[in-house]
Amino acid sequence: MARNLIRRLPILYQNHHHRLFSSATAAVAPSPSPSPSPTDEEIVEMKGVKVSGRPLYMDMQATTPVDPRVLDAMLPFYLSRFGNPHSRTHLYGWESEAAVETARAQVASLIGANPKEIFFTSGATECNNISVKGVMRFYRDKKRHVITTQTEHKCVLDSCRHLQQEGFEPLEEIGRICREKGVPFHTDGAQALGKIPIDVEKMGIALMSLSGHKIYGPKGVGALYLRRRPRVRVEPQMSGGGQERGIRSGTVPTPLVVGMGAACEIAAKEMEYDTRRVTSLQERLLNGIRSRLDEVVVNGSMEHRYPGNLNLSFAYVEGESLLMGLKEVAVSSGSACTSASLEPSYVLRALGVDEDMAHTSIRFGIGRFTTEAEIDRAIELTVQQVEKLRNMSPLYEMAKAGIDLKSIQWAQH
């Protein structure tokens, strides 16, 4: 019976595979694909916005599509080899456990760690919680300082804030000398994993949070790297059956973990090639936009940045209004209007972006599956919308007339 199931799998997969690729390029290729699925061509209306065909996806920092090879690796563990890895008494448990351990080794290999130092969790947010709260609560009688940076993800800052309520003191610097001073150094590697080479030895990292869905793996899984020499101890945040050596209780989700392992292995093999490709696509995007628009600012440093992330500010154009016009391109914005408060993104502010420019930023995310055609289309759409909005902008009008905007007394609320 299992054999029959397995024979049927390739067919299931093929249909999915086809739709996976065709949906990404629907907005680019006007000619219909050989067997068009309904979502590719009909007009989609959601949240009051109509789009024809699915938008091009350029928000890779938010999440990535699952690599078909990863899905290949995962499916058997949902359908036939579905045992609980902690079941000690039968084949189902044994094979599931073996798969988890293989995945563990794959993740460890990508960051230069020992598999015994990898613990699976539900994602980078959980890892950050374990790292920050776990370490601090474990050492609460001896040390009470936490050093963090302004550009951290909300979950890290929130964890630090919680600790503040428990009596820990925050300081604001970043320390590379941490290891020499015996200070555990935690880094949130969610965006970096698989994209830039990471070596926990070389970088003196004691704890690292890793996320599956940022590297073309499944959502709902992450891994925590916890150094053994010198040993970093944490207080577990999840109580239960003591799985993952007591660090994180809960049944380890074999298919998700296998997916993450496969994603890491693929990333290790293809990192160099991906980086080169993504860098050239990033250049294409930036040059394409700059050749047709002036006053475009890149936020953050060009040299010290991951090439797949391009965060641009278009002077005199507000971010949310630009996003409204770019509905055929899925990007995200660092402007206040898209967040729940009226404040611009604190990450951008920490990067030194002027307040009024912070409202104008758009983040393009390029990844393994982004094509040149998609980049060209994104350039076209972006330039069109920016030009239209600049025509509607009083700030652009004033700037062109030679007025210095910084000298104006604005009638604020």
């Binding site: 959601m46 949240k47 009051g48 916005v49 109509k50 928000d59 920092q61 938010a62 993800h153 909300k154 800052l157 005199y316 154009v317 507000e318 971010g319 949310e320 209004s321 996003l323 409204m324 016009g325 770019l326 509905k327 899925a330 990007v331 995200s332 914005s333 660092g334 402007s335 206040a336 209007c337 898209t338 967040s339 729940a340 408060s341 009226l342 404040e343 611009p344 993104s345 604190y346 990450v347 951008l348 307040e355 009024d356 409202h359 930023s361 983040r363 025509n391 509607m392 902008s393 009083p394 700030l395 652009y396 009008e397 905007l405 604005w410 009638a411 604020q412 609320h413």
Partner: protein, 161 residues
């Protein structure tokens, strides 16, 4: 100040969004009319600022992410607004609010347009609570334009005597 009051009333506090959020936050959607005004904006443009029959209202601030410039052309004898145009730096709701404002002031008396309330604009566009400040700014813009015109007239009058 208004921002603070709004924040408090919605209990937003220091909970700032983290990494830049996606264009469509789960709880918000654009009303048809807002999208319509964005795709087919009415009355975008500029009148000559120096024209004595033109009143210009410039409100908002780039740091807040909202700047509206609303101009009215007034018929000297009747006091009626014969034409209006706008330019806005701001989100879709801000653009739509100022666009609606220009439509509503056309053909009305100056005293009449001063009674246009932001709540009417907000209702017309089905603005969600987080976007109410856009309609308030539009109301301010109308008032500022009328005020500017009247100031101009007052300055011009003594010269004639």
């Amino acid at each position: 100040m208004l921002r603070l009051a709004l924040k408090r009333s919605l209990r937003l506090g220091p909970a700032v969004s983290d990494t830049p959020s996606a264009a469509m936050v789960a709880s918000r959607g654009y009303h048809e009319r807002v999208v319509d005004h964005y795709n087919n904006p009415r009355n975008v443009g500029s009148f000559d600022k120096e024209d004595p029959n033109v009143g210009t209202g410039l409100v908002g601030a780039p740091a807040c992410g909202d700047v509206m410039k609303l101009q009215i052309k007034v018929d000297e004898d009747s006091g009626k607004i014969v034409d209006a145009c706008f330019k806005t730096f701001g989100c879709g709701s801000a653009i739509a609010s100022s666009s609606v404002a220009t439509e509503w002031v056309k053909g009305k008396q100056m005293e009449e347009v001063l009674t246009i309330k932001n709540t009417e604009i907000a209702k017309h566009l089905s603005l969600p609570p987080v976007k109410l400040h856009c309609s308030m700014l539009a109301e301010d813009a109308i008032k500022a334009a009328v005020k500017d015109y009247e100031l101009k007239k007052a300055k011009a009058a003594p010269k004639q005597e």
